[in-house]
């Protein structure tokens, strides 16, 4: 840390010539690492979206032949252009895994924690640039392994992204539980290593490297959200490692942590005494905080963007911080709501009902505060703003159905149905993706020194919003009618046929929504090289990142570090002429700090 300061405080950002490798590949500059995370996440996102469109073809038009399936997956997984049921499960599993871990955990936190933490707290870089670089390369390695697992002969992991044993522990149970599963587990261990290195770095940086005047109570909400996210990750991801390592041992070394009384492949296994439910407890002890690891950065990003573009201070800053902390804390004591129907003691279930429904309160406070921030604002419809407003809608809409799922008596009938799929895709998937896209549109000028095309951004937003809800909203009804998730087809069940009309509609929205992302891809890569050159502070924003040069060098500020005199949300302050007052502007005589 001290070293980083010494080398940079002289004010010469480019004091040594960097080689191409150290600048673009093994970079220790948080801004470059942020871009590496983003581009990797976009690449993984394209894969995950493509997989989902492929299996939506099967779900929308069961048994119909599609040349594209055969072309992409070959005769083994899609003979005659019809997806096989094993391949279907593999696609569903890898889609979920990539989205949850690689796009929305690694991608979202990796991109914005790296970009924003040092820039918004006024630091030269992360506390440890080296660990930060390692974190990216671990992430990259685990991404490569996960993608490679799609190409093994027995197929990728297929037991769903939650990989419940014994299915995932027994190669005899399904082809996907062979080498594909082993690669999944190895990839995940490396992923967690990446996540821990990154998380520790974020926490240390936020605690130690804030610039003069940047009190915790003056931190932008993005940094607060990323801070709590990092703490959640550091506390919960190690549990996933132990969970995964025990599974690897059950698979490879004949232990029986998760296995007992199993007869498979024509013989009884010599294992007793384990419990598959132990896995679920360990998995969801990570898995539920993970939901908030995905969601909180998106909420932080949207808070910042909504305040900036409504030209209005975020309403109830302290309540927003309090809600983030409350949600973070509660997220650790609710994991059992994923297990109401595992035969867990009903009394224990009651406790989890109580704690889970408590989360509705801070969540509702956040939603109300977002809407009040918009009220009487002066709302600029930038693409980032549109996605942030969309996020509020998805957060509210998806959050509300969580009330039903949290209620154990109701969960019994909708557990593992499309109702759940609808719920978490809206509240976690769409919200987090919207937050991520909002962040990209908003901070693109900081990352690449150029602007993204606004008109394409508008089209991208409206298509994504309409298609997103078009895909996931009808799924509530498919699920309430009793359609289980992870079914390859529903032909065997006459009582579900009447909601099957919705499947082709859902799939059509999925295809159009998937294609709409091409607008974003095009806009993103086109703007990197051909976008309009960005000014220093394009959005009239208060936070510190806009006080750097348009393209900040390694060390961020060429001169001394900026000094902070006020909080980040002095928008339309009547004591000032401009409708924004950057954090570096000293208080006027007699002006109160907020």
């Amino acid at each position: 840390m001290a070293h980083a300061h010494d080398t940079h405080h002289d004010g010469h950002a480019h004091h040594h010539k960097e080689s191409w490798i150290s600048k673009y590949v093994f970079s220790q500059d948080h801004k470059m690492i942020s871009k590496q995370f983003l581009v990797t996440a976009i690449f993984m996102g394209v894969i995950a979206v493509t997989l989902s469109v492929l299996f939506r073809l099967q779900l929308g038009w069961n048994g119909q032949s599609f040349g594209i399936l055969n072309a992409l997956l070959g005769d083994r997984w899609a003979p005659n252009g019809v997806l096989s049921s094993n391949a279907y499960l593999a696609l569903v599993t890898i889609h979920g895994t990539i989205m949850v871990f690689f796009v929305l955990t690694g991608g979202l936190s990796g991109t914005f924690a790296n970009l924003l933490i040092p820039l918004q707290i006024g630091a030269r870089d992360m506390a440890s640039g080296f660990l930060n670089m390692l974190s990216y390369w671990f992430f990259f390695t685990s991404s490569v392994i996960m993608v490679a697992s799609l190409f093994v002969e027995t197929g990728a992991a297929s037991g769903g992204w939650t990989i419940y044993p014994p299915l995932s522990a027994l190669p005899d149970a399904m082809p996907g539980s062979g080498l594909g599963m082993t690669l999944w587990l190895i990839s995940m261990v490396i992923f967690v290593a990446s996540s821990l290195l990154a998380g520790l770095n974020y926490i240390v940086t936020i605690i130690n490297l804030r610039t003069k005047g940047m009190k915790m109570t003056r931190l932008p909400l993005t940094v607060w959200a990323l801070f709590v996210t990092a703490i959640l990750g550091v506390l919960s991801f190690p549990v996933l490692v132990s969970c995964v390592v025990l599974l690897l041992m059950d698979r490879g070394f004949g232990t029986a942590f998760y296995l007992s009384d199993i007869y498979i492949g024509g013989q009884p296994l010599d294992v007793t005494g384990g419990s598959p439910l132990l896995f679920q407890h360990l998995f969801w002890f990570l898995g539920h905080p993970e939901v908030y690891i995905v969601l909180l950065p998106a909420l932080g990003i949207s808070s910042e963007i909504i305040s900036t573009n409504a030209r209005k201070p975020i309403f109830g800053y302290k309540a927003m911080v309090g809600s983030i902390l409350a949600i973070g804390f509660l997220s650790f004591i609710v994991w059992g709501h994923h297990m109401y129907v595992t035969g867990m003691n009903p009394f224990l279930g009651s406790v989890f009902v109580f704690t889970t429904l408590l989360i509705a309160i801070p969540s509702a406070v956040k939603a109300f505060n977002y809407i009040t921030t918009l009220y009487q604002g002066n709302i600029r419809m930038t693409p980032g703003m549109l996605f942030s407003i969309g996020l509020v809608s998805t957060f509210v809409t998806g959050g509300l159905t969580g009330i039903i799922l949290a209620d154990s008596a109701l969960d019994v009938n909708v557990h593992d149905t499309y109702f759940v799929v609808a719920h978490f895709h809206i509240v976690m998937g769409m919200s987090a993706i919207f937050g991520m896209l909002a962040g990209v549109y908003h901070w693109f000028p900081k990352m690449y020194g150029r602007m993204m095309n606004t008109k394409l951004g508008f089209a991208h937003f409206w298509l994504t919003l309409v298609c997103g809800f078009g895909v996931f909203f009808p799924m509530h009804f498919v699920g309430m009618a009793g359609s289980p998730r992870r079914y390859y087809a529903y032909t065997e069940f006459p009582f579900l046929q009447w909601v099957e009309d919705l499947q082709p509609i859902i799939s059509t929205f999925a295809i159009v929504g998937g294609l709409a992302q091409l607008l974003f891809l095009f806009n993103f890569f086109h703007s990197i090289w051909f976008g309009q050159k960005a000014p220093a502070n394009p959005w009239g924003s208060n936070t510190l990142e806009w006080t750097t040069p348009v393209k900040p060098g390694h060390g961020n500020w060429p001169g001394a570090l900026p000094e902070v005199h006020r909080w980040a949300y002095d928008y339309s302050n009547p004591e000032h002429e401009e409708d924004f007052v950057p954090q570096t502007v000293p208080l006027k005589a007699g002006e109160h700090a907020h």
Partner: protein, 414 residues
């Protein structure tokens, strides 16, 4: 051909977007406008689109509610009625909140879109307001929690003493039910006893003897084979065979560790003789049933949507769900005017390639019809059969078609 066409269309679309962007950028540089400055027209357009979207979203929601809101037929179980009432209560609350919150969001966004001549209100916080909207969800959650837990308490808890116990057994990819028969006691079962004609692994003294004998036979056969062919077999092959012998010995040991038990004065090793095993789940109407779930391989989940019931099946850990069916299959057919209707139990935990096809028919009938059905079922050990002939494993025709015991299976697989 179609593929080529699709790819061509995509490529053309990308080129078109690229060209349009170029045109747009040229015109922008001529008009000297900036990306970050959203024009009044654009602000207004997006504000209006917020309203249009809101209306479309709400209409779509109402259409879905009207068309698909009756998500399932009326509940066919006693607790199901409570569950549906609770569901209706919750759906009312979240639907109202959904319309209010989304309505407020989109209307406010529309109303306060950017105008140059206006300044936003500098409004930091309002403790009274914030207290109010912490209290409202707080109170609502309290009501929802209490109502939910009352319902939960009623449907869980131990089954009453006179509940009919039925075992529901899952394996890839089917379901089997077991009824305890006249003695009211389930025969002891263990996964080490499983054979193709004893999928539950029910233990009877005869079967135990056959099982042990068969393993012993396989062990000595394999040992003899190694002895005889030693010179020809590779070291690895011998190792594999020795490993098999080790496994068989372990299997035998586990069988010998099983102890006979007493329940209601009946030995659990004899109780299995009159157990009934069925591929359909028959339930008498109006009688509380306690379903006891077990699995032999991976997790499954017994999902009975018409009864608002679900429970995972876990290898090694029996799980339970009690319920009282209230509507017979026949009554439900009349109610739905669908003579082909049947209750169904489906697997709702991903379990492998044909997970989507793993189901069992459920029939709710009058107690008389149920008793008659049960009477007509074959017992696990047919009464008339002499004990010595019981093990089907020994008969040559079954061994020829399928490996009957795990021990022989191992040898066959070799």
């Amino acid at each position: 051909m179609l593929n080529l066409l699709i790819i061509l269309v995509l490529v053309l679309a990308v080129i078109a977007v690229f060209q349009l962007t170029r045109v747009y950028e040229y015109s922008r540089s001529i008009r000297n406008t900036r990306e970050e400055e959203i024009s009044h027209a654009d602000n207004k357009l997006n504000a209006w689109l917020m309203l249009v979207w809101m209306v479309a979203f709400f209409i779509g929601t109402i259409v879905l509610y009207v068309k698909y809101g009756n998500y399932l037929p009326p509940p066919a179980s006693e607790h199901g009625v409570n569950v549906d009432n609770l569901m209706a209560f919750n759906i009312w609350i979240i639907t109202i909140a959904f319309f209010l919150m989304n309505g407020a969001l989109f209307i406010i966004t529309y109303k306060f879109y950017y105008r140059k001549d206006r300044k936003a209100r500098f409004h930091l916080h309002d403790n009274r307001l914030e207290m109010l909207w912490t209290m409202i969800p707080g109170v609502l959650m309290a009501v929802i929690i209490i109502y939910g837990l009352i319902t939960w308490g009623k449907m869980t808890g131990p089954a009453s003493a006179d509940a009919l116990k039925i075992e529901v057994y899952s394996k890839q990819f089917d379901w089997t039910a077991r009824y305890s028969g006249k003695d009211g006691v389930f025969g002891a079962a263990n996964f080490n006893m499983i054979t193709s004609d004893n999928i539950f692994g029910i233990i009877t003294p005869d079967r135990m003897k056959v099982m042990l004998d068969s393993i012993d036979g396989d062990i000595s056969e394999t040992e003899a084979y190694i002895e005889r062919e030693k010179a020809l077999l590779s070291d690895e092959k011998i190792e594999v065979l020795e490993d098999q012998i080790y496994r068989m010995k372990r299997h035998k040991q586990r069988l010998m560790d099983l102890d006979e038990d007493q329940l209601n004065g009946i030995s659990t090793w004899t109780a299995g003789a009159d157990d009934v095993i069925a591929k359909e789940l028959h339930l008498p109407v109006g009688q509380e049933v306690e379903l006891i779930f077990t699995s032999r391989d991976v997790l499954h989940s017994a999902y009975l949507p018409h009864f608002r019931a679900q429970m995972n099946t876990v290898p090694g850990v029996p799980t339970r769900f009690k319920m009282k069916p209230t509507i017979t299959t026949e009554e439900m057919r009349q109610e739905l005017k669908d003579p082909a209707f049947d209750y169904i139990l489906l697997c709702n935990k991903v379990c492998g390639a044909t997970h989507y096809n793993m189901k069992m028919k459920v029939i709710v009938e009058s107690p008389e019809a149920y008793a008659k059905w049960l009477e007509s079922q074959k017992l696990f050990v047919p009464v008339e059969a002499p004990a010595a002939e019981v093990p089907a494993t020994a008969s040559p025709d079954t061994t020829a078609s399928a490996p009957a015991s795990p021990a022989t299976a191992m040898v066959v697989n070799r």
